[in-house]
Symmetry: C2
Subunit: 582 residues, 2 copies
């Protein structure tokens, strides 16, 4: 038996017990006549004590020789500490060691196993197994495990069945960015790794398993933006005989369950915004509503004066930044520079200081009267002490620029509180999205999403106008889930494929099995998928997903710890009937 207790377990009540502990040497303090060692394991730290009076001389010497991260086992008696440490759960006691065994030695780690010192990203990734010993990473992984368990508890409780769908599926040329897997037994043929189990979960609905879920790895071979991974985890869900409202209720329930059981936060019904409304009020289809700063459209009140920039703009829109009227000229100039950065892309910014005395000071004072500006303040909800920031130009671009500014100001003002959770539904997404480069429409969610009733006809005349039975669940400014009510009849699906530019042959080759299935009695169905990595990160009060993944890949899709991907040998290639073509 390696241990009778963990290193996080011992309290006053254990005093005088003989215990056995195992763990890592976290820290050694050698005061000559006495040596203290902090022994660490997953559960905490317990102080060991050796001294010249009570300890065997050899053992004291051995204790002195231990370096950081040695793995040791000790036996000893729990005693009360002379000077207690109220900051540690085990801080009232220490172990007077009577036996000490080194279980394994350790080289000096390339970085210290402390909460704050991590040695930088490169070292952390190369020595991820050491990084995981650090509380911030360890606790994230434990947190993830708890969240997924709660997800499963809730969904199982609601009658959802977890079904494993295959990982070796069919490559779909349209689905580009598939990772493919050559088959040895089927010469010259390839499997693909799923980008999502979409078609399989729909087939399960056709198969009558009316409430499905799966926590499942998905794969996408795309150029990695920061904070994307080639393999990622989804909570994938589907329901049959379900309308949009059924899906929203079921999964609003899931998020409520998580907030309640993970954070003891009770949440009322989630706000719902249409896609159009979200863009109008927040400039984003994933608005962070933990704070206000809603958009005020100023076209009617700011146009048709003498300010040409606004008169020629498709949209004039502003937000009121709380308390920022006190910004200096220099600070405001910096803000203007900020919105003009290429990443944001605004041409400039008009501002209005709403002074505490009720007066206004703006960058456009020569075009607008105080009465005009009072209207601006009303439209943006500005109060005395606020700074109104106004952008103008083409609708979509301007909204997106002002949304970026809104998020930036919220960040600066500390309004994006990690322990506040503000979920909402965004509904009625467009069915199709115009690809500016190719001029072709493609499915905004995916080709299986159903249009709103009666809008199928619009596909020919105004494809961009068609709205879908599609919804996103947004939490703290992040899309954590998205889904739709699916098409469930062959004809509509064929029409969709046609409008997405598939020839009937292409549609047949790629999705024939699904269209066949639709002929044998497909029930109405719909679902949703959550990005687990991000959901867990946000629930954990963090913005980046990487430290909620045990062994993440870097931005080139490499695992630097195991050094993958790597070359494979000729024989293996030959068995797969492949040749490199570099």
């Amino acid at each position: 038996m390696y241990r009778s207790h963990t290193c996080g377990e011992l309290r006053d009540s254990h005093v005088n017990e003989e215990v056995t502990l195992s763990g890592w040497v976290h820290k050694t303090r050698d005061k000559g006549f006495v040596v203290w060692i902090d022994l660490r394991d997953r559960y905490g730290i317990t102080q060991l004590v050796f001294d010249g009076e009570r300890s065997d001389a050899d053992m004291l010497e051995k204790a002195r020789s231990l370096s950081r991260e040695y793995v040791i086992q000790v036996k000893g008696k729990v005693i009360e500490r002379a000077s207690k440490n109220p900051n540690m759960p085990t801080g009232n006691v220490e172990i007077l060691v009577t036996e000490l065994q080194v279980l394994n030695e350790a080289l000096l780690p390339p970085f210290t196993i402390e909460d704050q010192t991590d040695g930088g990203d490169d070292l952390r990734m190369k020595y991820r197994y050491l990084d995981i010993r650090r509380n911030p990473v360890k606790n994230n992984l434990i947190f993830r495990s708890q969240v997924t368990m709660e997800v499963r508890k809730y969904l199982a409780g609601q009658g959802f069945i977890e079904v494993e769908t295959p990982y070796l599926i069919k490559s779909t040329p349209e689905g580009a960015r598939d990772f493919v897997v050559p088959s040895r037994m089927n010469e010259g043929q390839f499997y693909a790794l799923p980008q999502s189990p979409q078609t399989f979960k729909q087939l399960l609905m056709v198969g009558g398993l009316d409430k499905y879920f799966q926590i499942v790895k998905c794969f996408r071979d795309e150029d990695l933006r920061a904070d994307r991974q080639p393999e990622f985890t989804q909570i994938d869900c589907e329901m049959a005989f379900a309308e949009q409202e059924d899906v929203l209720q079921a999964f609003e329930g899931l998020i409520k369950h998580l907030l309640k059981n993970i954070h003891q936060v009770e949440t009322g019904p989630f706000p719902r915004l249409t896609y159009d409304e979200a863009l109008r009020r927040y400039g984003s289809d994933k608005p962070d509503i933990r704070f206000g700063m809603e958009f005020g459209e100023l076209n009617k009140i700011a146009q048709h004066k003498d300010f040409k920039v606004f008169n020629s703009a498709e949209l004039v829109v502003g937000i009121a930044v709380p308390g920022a009227a006190s910004y200096s000229r220099k600070e405001i100039d910096a803000l203007i520079d900020w919105v003009r950065r290429p990443q944001v892309g605004a041409k400039g910014m008009v501002y209005v200081k709403c002074n505490e005395d009720g007066s206004f000071k703006s960058s456009v004072d020569k075009f607008y009267t105080a009465e005009d500006l009072e209207q601006w303040a009303a439209a943006t909800g500005a109060k005395a002490g606020d700074l109104i920031c106004v952008l103008s130009g083409e609708v979509n671009a301007t909204r997106s620029q002002l949304s970026a500014l809104r998020m930036e100001m919220a960040e600066r003002l500390g309004l994006r509180k990690p322990d506040v959770f503000a979920p909402l539904w965004v509904l009625d997404f467009p069915l199709l999205e115009l690809d500016e480069e190719t001029g072709r429409y493609h499915a905004m969610h995916h080709p299986f999403t159903s249009p709103k009733p009666g809008q199928l006809e619009l596909l020919d005349t105004a494809p961009g106008e068609v709205r879908a039975n599609a919804y996103d669940l947004v939490l703290n400014g992040n899309e954590i889930g998205g889904g739709s009510i699916r098409i469930h009849d062959k004809e509509t699906q064929a029409t969709m494929f046609k409008h997405l530019g598939f020839t009937p042959e292409e549609a047949r080759a790629q999705f024939g099995f699904l269209m066949d299935a639709f002929q044998y009695g497909a029930p109405p169905h719909g679902g949703i998928a959550f990005g687990l990595d991000r959901l867990v990160a946000i629930l954990g009060g963090q913005e980046t997903i990487r430290d909620f993944i045990a062994f993440p890949k870097n931005n080139s899709g490499r695992d630097v710890m195991i050094d993958a991907p790597a070359s494979i040998d000729e024989a293996q290639l030959k068995e797969l009937n492949l040749k490199l073509d570099l």
Copy 2:
């Protein structure tokens, strides 16, 4: 709202309620003046009734036009049935339909959706989404979901953390049979799909997460024997600061939890056999101990008489088949033919009938006296009425032949009861296994398994004798889990690699990261992995795994439903810097 209740829900207590149901038309009975429809969903079947008196004429006509597997929605009133069906949970009631809507039409399915008619394997696999509508398959999938939930509940309750390890890992040439995945971003390089998360779970132990589990897909590109799948699911587990006894206790607890919570079966401590003992007593390292028929070794009592076959044999061993003394000459001849089939491979079989009157009749009466045969009966535990079957020859082959016969007889005698569960541990496996073809030893479990204390030295002199800290959990004659205490120091691991024929360079290239990790304070650790597909099948009282997998592949590794694997187009190959070489 598509339904107020499911089709398995309505009882007497619902009589007179107005309800809405949705589902599939399971069966229609048209008696002219009255039409009954069985409406089916995941939860059961509810009878709908339409008649000339109470139903609208148009609706009656519409009801008549419905074919099997149409998806419909009905509204109506729950009424008491005139003739109740006690075999159906909903058999006391029916729905007098007032509204009927066809949600989707259906072609006539290629096989009937009934428990017994399945259309044969090929059709079932091609139309798996229809096959899943059948109770036997549907119930298996639901059962699997329940079992995995119980696995997670138990392990989470024991403090195990579920950690997801990567799917895109490094290809190891030694690990042959890796599926590889070409990387687009890393030209000419490949990931591999994991055959198991073995090294990652060991790294998690180095990382201090001392109780890990994961229910995870694993991949092996091997020629498929019947009932193997290229992708399969494991319950993968590892513990640090754990001795073999700790691992056995933890996972004996898991199986007990499953038997109790799934089948309400309480189990005492699991029997434990060493590998050697299992072979000696049952001729198998995964004995089915639901029944007796233990091996009786007869060398001492049957050799050195005049029967040359036995005298020249390394092993003479028999079993007593209960009640089979009544076999006719013809039946016994058939049994002898059975053991001589190439799949079993015995040269012949000696038998002894233990007659009810206490006399014996054997095929070797001229060599052995009744007193001799009485000794045989004692050694095999044969009672009056039993048939002793004796095989002889080389030890391993003979044991395996007699084991096959033992299983066959148990099958014929109905002793392999699917609702009886007899788990046991098999311990002390050999560390190495001789590959007869190459004459090389390879790891019986895997190269990370630790030898028994003090046996490392034997590796040079008698490698086949070295026993490992390795164990299997066996249930009803199937290995459902296997594991070991691992090597946790770099030197022992290097010695193992050397003995397995790795050069230091090969070992470094493939497992360098693990050996590096072992230098930074690796704790003692060990674990186990269960084959979930098989575990679920056996708990479900079945022998084949295929119907516990939603979308299995056939023996050529093909998914015939989606027709994968398949060719990919030239452009995609080019992006991956690959050429076919057929």
